[in-house]
């Protein structure tokens, strides 16, 4: 889960990584007291290319700063609305270097990456003569101060600068480990003309699954969100309900079993010429309430023309699923076609529940078809696409 630059820098300060003095502005006519000019104003969005899009500006006085703030706030950079601007003292750059700590997906170990060439994309840095240097650690291993100095020494620093760079390396690694991060990147780490160090940009990628043990993040205003980007309103609702949900731009609501099949389902819909309206995941063993809430999210979406559903009863049982579908239908009398398939644990019991409800209230079930294990899932998807008027 990516943090905004201003959030990452709050975490940096807590970890003792030096950042330029800054404030966050969320409104026009912001109070810019105690600001030392010149400053850099940076729109707080995840998408790259802020500079080219005019969302990074410099200002030499309050008037200029206010002008830029007014011009940026509320604008959109790609899909993202600019809601905050980081106003930061401009640093007199002498050198820009690269320092990061991350998890290596190949060796499954934490590592420190450094380069004398900072200030550009990591891919570009990697192309430079002196490639990125990588130092691997074992899981659970501490970084001794001498190791950080050794790295700074191998980077070619000496004297006070070596000590300073080593300090940042040590703290970046400790931040990775102590806050369960996937990535902590300082790019560039700027050395100013007086030899002081500043993290001029800051990238932190947290492990959302470990946030339960970092309660202090919430105190800092850092809460769960997409890996990159903000949630839509419907995604926010789903999140509050505990349902992994992503809005897509099609018209077929997808009500799958697990995440893995959810991913396959949107592929298959697209494969057969349909357009999925969402990704969704019921999680391990959803309660009936959760299943009904999931259906509601789709039915209430005006874009959705038909719903594709599938339940392979594993940890989540077919009878529970059937009960939830029946209760939702009886209570909400949805008017959108629902084409589904049910198989697996407690399939017979589930089918009995569905048949009984259908017999008692055939009027509510006329647009609802629930296939069994002998119908390939592709056929169910194709039928859903037809019902949505596609193909």
């Amino acid at each position: 889960m990516r943090l905004y630059e201003y959030e990452a820098k709050r975490l940096f300060r807590r970890a003792g990584i030096p950042t330029p003095d800054n404030i966050v502005v969320e409104r026009d006519a912001a109070v810019l007291e105690n600001v030392v000019y010149p400053v850099v104003l940076k729109a707080q969005v995840f998408l790259g290319g802020r500079g080219k899009a005019g969302f990074v500006k410099t200002a030499h006085n309050a008037r200029e700063a206010q002008k830029h703030i007014k011009a940026m706030l509320g604008k959109k950079h790609g899909a993202y609305r600019i809601e905050r601007i980081l106003v930061e003292r401009m640093i007199d750059i002498d050198q820009e270097i690269y320092v990061a700590a991350a998890i290596d997906r190949l060796s499954h170990r934490p590592l420190v990456m450094t380069s004398r060439h900072g200030g550009m994309d990591i891919e570009e840095i990697a192309k430079k003569e002196q490639a990125i240097m990588k130092f691997y650690f074992n899981p659970g291993q501490k970084i001794h101060k001498f190791m950080a100095r050794k790295i700074a020494g191998q980077l070619g620093f000496s004297g006070q600068l070596l000590a300073g760079v080593a300090g940042v390396i040590e703290k970046v690694y400790n931040l990775l480990v102590s806050y369960d991060c996937k990535l902590v990147e300082v790019n560039p780490l700027v050395i100013d003309k007086r030899g002081s160090l500043y993290a001029v940009d800051a990238k932190v990628d947290l492990d959302e699954d470990a946030m339960f043990r970092h309660r202090d993040l919430a105190e800092m205003g850092i809460v769960a969100r997409h890996e990159v980007g903000e949630l839509t309103d419907r995604e926010r609702t789903a999140k509050a309900l505990g349902i992994p949900y992503v809005d897509l731009d099609g018209d077929i609501g997808v009500f799958p079993g697990g995440a893995g099949f959810g991913i396959a389902a949107i592929d298959l819909i697209q494969h057969y010429g349909g357009k999925p309206a969402n990704f969704m995941d019921s999680g391990g063993a959803p309660t009936q309430e959760k299943l009904r809430a999931m259906l509601g999210l789709l039915i209430d979406n005006p874009r959705v023309k038909a719903i594709f559903g599938a339940r392979f009863g594993g940890i989540s049982r077919c009878d529970d699923w059937a009960k939830a579908v029946v209760q939702y239908v009886l209570e909400n009398k949805p008017e959108k076609p629902m084409i589904m398939r049910m198989a697996g644990n407690m399939e017979a019991e589930g089918r009995k529940i569905l048949e009984q409800a259908k017999q008692e209230h055939p009027e509510f079930f006329k647009d609802i078809k629930i296939y069994a294990v002998d119908t390939p899932i592709e056929e169910v998807i194709k039928e859903t696409i037809r019902c949505a008027g596609g193909e």
Partner: protein, 293 residues
Amino acid sequence: MAIIIDKGTQTIIQGITGRNASLHAKFMMEYGTNVVAGVTPGKGGQKVEGVRVYDTVQQCMEDHPRATVSSIWVPPAFAKDAILEAIDAGIKTVVVITERIPIHDMLMVRHVAKEKNVMVIGGNTPGLISPGKALVGMLPTITFRPGRIGTVARSGAVTYYLANSLNLAGFGESTSVGLGGDPILGANFEDVLRLFQEDPETDAVVMAGEIGGVYEELAAPYVKEMKKPVIAYITGKAAPQGKRLGHAGAIIEGTMGTAQSKIDALRSNGAYLAETFSEIPALVRLAIKERSG
């Protein structure tokens, strides 16, 4: 001999007193799995579905020294501890049902497991099944038939649909293994492919991957080495970038871990690529014919 679990393999269940674990303990035993004991700290002495509950894996192993497989059903905050406990007590295969285990915890688990030469499957695995012999996990047994196709997939539901497609076409499975949907896994595709390659009861392997991570790409060179054919199905082509699709593992980071990069790596190393579940049985038939021909 099926891979990993077979008829009679002694298995224990950590977290057995939980609602899901106790339900699936029952299913496993009904299927014929030899569940010899359960472990839940603080609940030693209880019984679940007729199975004795111990406080620690060590105490459990004293009474059941031949247990080799444990499945983990505890909440994510306790998963690392439970897995390390199983390894410490001498368990040889740990099947981690728990999902969304913190990444740094899994790094530590992998590190210790490697040192002790223990196979950890998961986290967030639906488990594995050797049809007609044994089940560890929560796969719906109704879907699986004994046969000579090995399957290995990241996702649980995809494992069911694979089996379903194969069965509708008359195939059955030697063993079906769910690797799990978490971003850092214990066993990966290559580990399981190696077991199937050595398994005399397996003729071909179907592997199903998805966006995120690099386990599919890493397995590609071994696919080329294998004598048995591999049919691959990769999902996530339609997935939007930078959004987490339920599985924490299913997120595209930069140019790594896209569906296309996985498809390219596997195809260029000789795997047969399927685009839908329905295509898989035909490819299996073709592959077996080509390899044996």
